[in-house]
Symmetry: C2
Subunit: 196 residues, 2 copies
Amino acid sequence: MNQVSFDELFASAKTSVKSLVKGEFLFQKGDPSTHLYMVLDGCVRLVRYSREGDAIIMHSARTGDSVAEASLFSDTYHCNAEAMTPSTVACYDKKSILGILRDSPERSMACIALYSREVRNLRALLEVRAIRSARERVLLYLLLQADPQTMAVRVSGTIKEMAQDLAITHETLYRTLANLEKEGKIARTGSLIKIR
Amino acid sequence: MNQVSFDELFASAKTSVKSLVKGEFLFQKGDPSTHLYMVLDGCVRLVRYSREGDAIIMHSARTGDSVAEASLFSDTYHCNAEAMTPSTVACYDKKSILGILRDSPERSMACIALYSREVRNLRALLEVRAIRSARERVLLYLLLQADPQTMAVRVSGTIKEMAQDLAITHETLYRTLANLEKEGKIARTGSLIKIR
DNA sequence: CGAGTCGTTGAACGGAATCAATCGTCGTGG
DNA sequence: CCACGACGATTGATTCCGTTCAACGACTCG
């Protein structure tokens, strides 16, 4: 089971890399859907609006997240994609991707495997966010991320981003990590967290 | 874009329907993975255990949720599946599904579309759970579920199950719905909720 | 050098969880 | 048929803990 990445799978469909300033739209609702995207850096938020104008946030895509796969099966985008911070995204031509999937059963299967992994990760993250206690939430998150061999987690990005993943404030995360370390449950050395 | 369901897509792979009593295991870690499942009723929880014995809940699958798709690409199951309540599940033969995907590009594509929808739903639910305020969380949930035409949501299952989806206690959900109704934001008639 | 951000800690507040109680409904078995 | 138990729906009172606001040092970058 070789873990193919989205980028490897669709490398031949990649057309360009785009930089976005804060607040810039990658696409807007109703635009013809020509590309899929992958966030290389920053944060792009997918937002719909209710008739009363309430923002309905569909997804906050951060580094490594793919964006707008749903547009593969739709002629137009169904929401707005706005850069929350200065961001860079890789662009993949939709037609090329569809062609790849049509012509190559192996890549189709790899794509399904990719999605299946994504679904598993999302469900796990969903369980994390179902836990109210910050302590237990952080512990489950770390256990999920940890390499089974070493029981260590390398924190990618900042602690603030990790707090966003966990859907708690960064202050609470600092405190919680400090407590866990005091208890001896974890050991921190830089961006590496070891669980015992 | 016809919305094919998992059940329609893989109808020919369905082998049986199984009933589980509370606490019964559908499969356990290490078992050879022979089937995928879909929860028809009840609740099946996927759990892994850390070396210290802490439960790591991967997914609480309820009515309509598919289970163990990841096993498509693995010879054994990687977690335990335990019925939390008396449950019934539909069983789909893994080899048949793989055959279907190999031989039929259309169905592969439909499967990818299915996953893509699932991913979108999960991400949306993830955003819901990132909201701290019960009021706003319930509102976003309702907006997401609502039929865009009628702005109405039919609550499937009990309010308690809805509370689980929202990851708030059922007491808070009752109170929140009552408040929203008092404010005129929503109107409830039986299991139907209309948004103002 | 100053602006901006991350990491970290303190104090106070607010709101969701928790515990508890009541009512209604549904199914079950004697 | 009715008593009984189980569970969902609902509301009240109290507790708890995560958020919020605030402050500070360290660091990077222009």
